[in-house]
């Protein structure tokens, strides 16, 4: 095995040394650099959303507090949800999609490198667009699922919801463009021999997530377009007062998107954990095909459960029964995954690295969230729990205990591949334990405050309802998160500069991305490998030695090797800028619509008519 010896790399692991400077980042089409951009941006928004959460918890720490006004509180919880879902977790997953998918399937880039850059810039501009208003206290304020008719002009006359509607439409463009790109990449750019059933589990979960994105986002796009038309052009889609519109239309359309969205948020983390656990257990993933099928089953069933978010509206016994049953059914494939992860660890020679701890953390904490989820799959139970802190506890166990734990595990696991250096393990473990304590101290008491009847989204409450202690605990827990994050950030930036040199495969992992140098050269693979197994590096006799030798060479540029790489170009950024300017025009000045459209169309044509890469024939 070429990589166990960990040869000291010959070149400096300062990422992407030859291309640096602002312009190179603005015009990059390299999936790895775009992945890094996603990572930084999403971590920033993650902390921004975290600050919002801390203000929320500070406000709720004791009864009858007035740290923030009720109105601003509404903006805080709306933006906390919106930020964490659309600007933090989804893009953190996208960071890994970008960085890992081509490396794991043995490709030199994604199928459409420029479209990939476009997705990132749309995300960045859309994120800024939707985040700026809270600095001026005019942020969206109707909750992250923006129930119409509450969000129509009649009930929300300000520009707050305009930002929300338009911001989500913009972010939808980004997600859809990225989804088509990754879907095509996984279908069509796999290296020879990389059959579907040899794909690394992260790529599999990413594949399923792209399908979910492609199917779910159009629905919310239409729901948002209706709302946009209602607010700007006076249509009647959600006009329940004078036009007889159905108040449930928005809820149905939103949740047809919203439930698959839950899996969009959590499946990438499942994928990362399915890379982490086998590596540090030194065992192949247990029940690989079952993991694949259960992922597919989760996705399929995910489209048939949306109304469980709506049991409280009284859909009638048939609908309640149907959606209650399908929801409970989803527990089966999810449970299968949990057991497979446990079986992967069973009798393995486990190394408790930070990444492994976060992986185990996911298995444990997600299970708690999953079990409380089954509780409110039952409509009668849900009627007691809906809109209480019990639900808040549930989805934070799923999204923090699931998605975020998995993503942190992924960051510690792949940091050396991204930067060429290892993160500090000691600080990492401090980060892990602080996070676990903070997470459970914050969210576990919410089960109790919820069961005692504390509703979501109230900005303060009277003493003496039995909620005081649990809220004080939650607030105390929330105050630990910033400490944990500071440790992480310090570790991240110090390790990036001064961490131990990693080498191509510091963890002794088995998949393709660990056969190439860290950080990978711009072309990833000097020679496209031929894949013969799921863990090529673990099945030594099957490794193509010649290929491994060529690919572990460092310091060669694509020009040295005669590999054709795409030109870098600013045009995707300009198209994204035009698109967002166009949308801004709806709120600020109608003239901007024309300016934005002109910029977008001009840059788009210029992009489409210019070649992707140098002629090569």
């Amino acid at each position: 095995m070429a990589t166990t010896a960990r040869p000291a790399p010959k070149h400096s692991p300062d990422a992407y040394g030859e291309h640096s400077g602002l312009w190179s980042w603005l015009s990059t089409v390299d999936h790895k650099r775009i992945g890094v951009l996603y990572l930084y941006t999403a971590l920033f928004f993650f902390m921004f959303g975290g600050v919002e959460a801390i203000i929320i918890r500070a406000q709720l720490g004791a009864p009858n507090q007035h740290l923030v006004s009720a109105e601003f509180y509404n903006q805080l919880f709306t933006m906390h949800g919106t930020t964490m879902i659309f600007l933090a977790i989804m893009p953190l997953s996208a960071a890994f999609f970008n960085f890992l998918i081509p490396l794991q399937i043995g490709a030199r880039d994604v199928a459409f490198p420029r479209l990939n850059a476009f997705s990132y810039w749309v995300y960045l501009f859309g994120g800024i667009f939707i985040t700026i208003p809270i600095l001026f206290a005019v942020a969206p304020n109707d909750g992250w699922f923006g129930y119409a008719p509450l969000t129509t002009r009649a009930y929300s006359p300000g520009i707050n919801i305009d930002f929300w509607v338009i911001g989500l439409l913009i972010l939808g463009v980004s997600s859809l463009a990225a989804a088509f790109n990754f879907l095509t990449t996984i279908i069509n750019l796999r290296a020879p021999g990389m059959t579907l059933m040899r794909m690394p589990m992260f790529t599999w979960m990413a594949f399923i997530v792209q399908v979910l994105l492609v199917l779910a986002f159009p629905v919310v796009t239409i729901a948002l377009v209706f709302l946009l038309f209602d607010r700007f052009f006076g249509t009647n889609f959600y006009n329940t007062v004078s036009a007889g519109a159905d108040p449930l239309l928005w809820q149905h359309l939103f949740w047809i998107f919203g439930h698959p969205e839950v899996y969009i948020l959590v499946l990438p983390a499942f994928g990362l954990v399915s890379e982490v656990l086998p590596t540090y257990s030194k065992k192949p993933l247990f029940g690989y095909p079952v993991m694949v099928y259960s992922g597919i089953l989760i996705a399929v069933l995910g489209f048939g459960v949306w109304a469980h978010h709506m049991f409280a509206v009284g859909l009638g016994p048939i609908a309640d029964t149907f959606f209650g049953l399908t929801t409970m059914l989803i527990a089966i494939p999810t449970g299968v995954k949990i057991f497979n992860w446990i079986a992967t660890m069973a009798q393995g020679s486990i190394r408790y690295t930070t990444a492994m701890l976060f992986g185990i953390g996911l298995v444990a904490l997600f299970t708690i969230g999953g079990i409380s989820g089954i509780m409110h799959a039952s409509p009668p139970a849900d009627l007691q729990q809906t809109d209480t802190y019990f639900i808040v506890a549930h989805f934070h166990y799923v999204l923090f205990g699931g998605s975020i734990m998995g993503i942190f595990g992924g960051i510690y696991h792949y940091f050396p591949k991204i930067t060429g250096r290892l993160m500090d393990e000691k600080l990492g473990k401090i980060h892990f334990w602080l996070t676990v304590v903070a997470m459970n101290l914050t969210f576990f008491p919410m089960h109790f405050s919820g069961m005692l009847g504390m509703p979501r989204r109230i900005y303060t409450y009277d003493a003496g309802q039995g909620w005081d202690l649990f809220n004080a605990m939650s607030t105390a827990g929330a105050m630990i998160f910033p400490i944990a994050m500071l440790v992480f950030i310090y570790n991240f930036f110090v390790s990036r500069k001064r961490g131990e040199i990693a080498g191509s495969n510091p963890w002794g992992a088995g998949t393709l991305e660990w056969t190439i140098p860290s950080p990978p050269p711009e072309y990833n693979f000097a020679k496209i490998p031929t894949v013969t197994s799921r863990y090529p590096l673990w099945e030594g006799k099957e490794v193509d030695y010649e290929c491994a030798r060529i690919n572990s060479q460092e310091g060669k540029t694509s020009a040295d090797l005669g590999i054709v790489m795409p030109y870098s170009t600013i045009k995707p950024l300009l198209v994204a800028l035009g698109l967002v300017t166009m949308f801004c025009g709806l709120i600020f000045a109608r003239a901007l619509i024309g300016v934005g459209a002109a910029l977008m169309i001009f840059s788009l044509y210029s992009w489409l008519l210019s070649p992707l890469e140098p002629e090569h024939d």
């Binding site: 399908v211 489209f303 859909l315 005669g562 024939d617």
Partner: protein, 124 residues
Amino acid sequence: MMDSHASMTNLPDSAEALAHAPRREEEHAHPTWSTYWKVALILSLITVGEVWAYYLPSFVGSRGFVPTLLFLSGLKFAIVVMFYMHLKYDHRIFRVLFTGPLLVAAITLIGLMFLFGHLFIKIM
């Protein structure tokens, strides 16, 4: 075409890639002019039939009207997709990429119709 500057490292690369590359879509027996106009004729005839049906009050009032029109529309849909979009002749992956989402879309539509009371299940 391989240039002279192709280096040692990517020569075997290309050879190998080719060895493993499944054959490009073969030049299928592409449908020709005669298929195309016949398809267009069938589509037009079905459309004429649909519009005609619309003007038959006795048929419009009958139970068969809606199912018949839905069937005819579905038939036209399938014909265009199969012949004009040449899904019938093309790679399997395109069929998967189209019919999968179409199925989800159709089931979602039917589900919504039930939920909003446009379709009923009769119990007993």
